[in-house]
Symmetry: C2
DNA sequence: CTGAAAGCGCTAACAA
DNA sequence: TTGTTAGCGCTTTCAG
């Protein structure tokens, strides 16, 4: 089943079929219809490699995540794959196993075989990334780099939402546990926390253990704390609990990301939900623009980088501040 | 950078370079060495699509998982990618989003572009899978199908390990919460539970809610329960706890899979650890055999299907049975 | 053991 | 608006 078969069946030349399928040149509607009919009469589907070799698109995009076993990233990848699928593009999801060098290697390996790349929270140095990407279509997720397209979740709103919730509950001494220095999401959230006048704690590792560590570093008088992410929040709650302080009666805790874990622990975690699947979808949309886009792609993003809204999910780990009561 | 460049540099023909690189024909060691030197002097790397188009391998394999956001599957995928990478093959990880039809569609879409496919716990009907795979190299993970290669974790040992642990602790009335009918892992575990004479409960959905439901269906006098998986176990513990029964003082609970969650909840879950990454690696190994293997691949697995060992991770959710005491 | 030549299926000038 | 003609980079007969 090749282009030639279709051409024969439709009574036109192979180039006409090619053009009809790719919209590469103006064709008479009649011809297009005839070709289209032949195509699905024959159940034809183009040969990806042939198309690629001949200088066309590969019809595939790559999505690189730092840690596939982290549902946070897996969900973004899912959103991306979903959207790409709708566009008829194949998606190659690749796992960098939390290694910057593996990440770079993956990119290098994938780039020749796809039309574009989506990079989720890449961990490699900016300069390296820029070099690896060259002028290829690419979109960064949650890690803006000048001159390249990106899509991010609203980190400032995340911290603000958590703070406002706590304030509304009557809390005044609110601590914020910082995430690992160097990660964009950390810096973005940390900066906002500082701006908001929260008591900064950490940075700590973005893990359960990190949360435990943070628990013992809380300023005296703290009645509420916002953690850099859910895992830290859970570790924090655990440490707090085993040191005799009750959550939420004695201290309220808010997480960030709303991973599944947050709804499974007791008390369930109040947390900020990130639009994960949407991040993936938007990234693919932006990538599609670049791929089909005109001009020297890669260097000049066509539109403003979208900042996606986040929302607060209130659960059992937060309660009104009531000194003396309960 | 093409084959021709290498050929020129090495002073041989392109076909010789091709043969040297693929070991397709007997070549004098001297020639091979010369070619090899030229290759890495030039930093040459073959053009995947060209190679594919010309009838060679694509140098890529696909790994299809039913739910990428489930760390259980993501970890298997990681193992697979890791090993494939070592073999110099590119890995395409794809997410079926828990839809059997999407799964089938993915397979159909990927199969023409890869040398082989690894299917993790596929959810589509056997007949459909067989049809979709045709005679292409493929390996099934945790879902044996006659006539196709597969690699599985030892489900029987999993239940046995849990039972023995509980027995050793003095428990005699042990319940087993069954997973969803139709899944291979469920049936394998359920059958073993029956064989072992445990009190069967369920089946319930493999979720937190399923565990909660199971809690109220436990036979009177039950002092220990083994759940189909960790999520169910956690839901079970939660329901038990809120109905006033303490874990592990009143009833011991054992999960299965040892996902991260198991170590994060309180009490932490005693559970059976599955060799996830190893499953992925072995699957790729078996796939590699088929791909390079002789004979009509796909129909006659070359070796016996491996059954990988599992281990028990003891944590806080289990304790000795001591009627009357503590 | 090695070279020459013929495509694989498709796209992209270049004509018409 | 459409057809003709070259290849893309590689593998593979077929000679030698």
């Amino acid at each position: 089943m090749t282009l030639a078969d279709v051409a024969r069946r439709a009574g036109v030349s192979t180039s006409t079929v090619s053009r009809a399928l790719n919209g590469t040149a103006p064709l008479s509607p009649a011809t297009v219809a005839r070709v289209r009919r032949a195509v699905d009469a024959l159940g034809y589907s183009p040969h990806r490699s042939a198309r690629h070799l001949a200088g066309g698109r590969t019809g595939a995009i790559a999505v690189v995540v730092p840690d596939l076993t982290n549902p946070f990233f897996a969900t973004i990848a899912r959103g991306a794959q979903h959207r790409a699928h709708e566009n008829g593009e194949l998606t190659v999801i690749a796992d960098a196993e939390d290694s910057p060098s593996a990440e770079l290697e993956l990119i290098a390996r994938l780039v020749p075989d796809v039309d574009g790349v989506v990079l989720c929270s890449p961990t490699a140095p900016t300069a390296r990334l820029v070099a690896a990407l060259g002028s290829r279509p690419a979109v960064l997720v949650n890690r803006p780099i000048r001159g390249r397209a990106s899509v991010v979740a609203d980190q400032r709103a995340a911290v603000r939402l958590a703070r406002d919730h706590l304030r509304g509950l009557g809390h005044e001494r609110i601590a914020y546990v910082r995430g690992p220095a160097g990660k964009w999401t950390s810096s973005a959230r940390d900066a906002q926390a500082g701006r908001l006048g929260l008591d900064l704690v950490g940075p700590v590792a973005p893990t359960f253990g990190g949360g435990a560590r943070a628990a013992s570093a809380l300023p005296r008088g703290t009645t509420a704390v916002i953690a850099h992410n859910d895992l830290v929040a859970v570790g924090l709650v655990d440490a707090l609990t085993s040191s005799g302080r009750r959550v939420p009666e004695d201290v309220s805790v808010v997480g960030c990301d709303d991973v599944e874990l947050a709804s499974l622990v007791r008390p369930a975690l109040t947390t900020v939900r990130m639009p994960l699947e949407q991040l993936g979808r938007r990234a693919v949309d932006r990538l599609a623009e670049q791929i089909s886009g005109s001009g020297p792609v890669g260097s000049a993003p066509t539109a403003a980088d979208p900042v996606l809204a986040v929302t607060l999910t209130v659960r059992g780990s937060t309660a009104p501040y009531a000194a003396g009561r309960t």
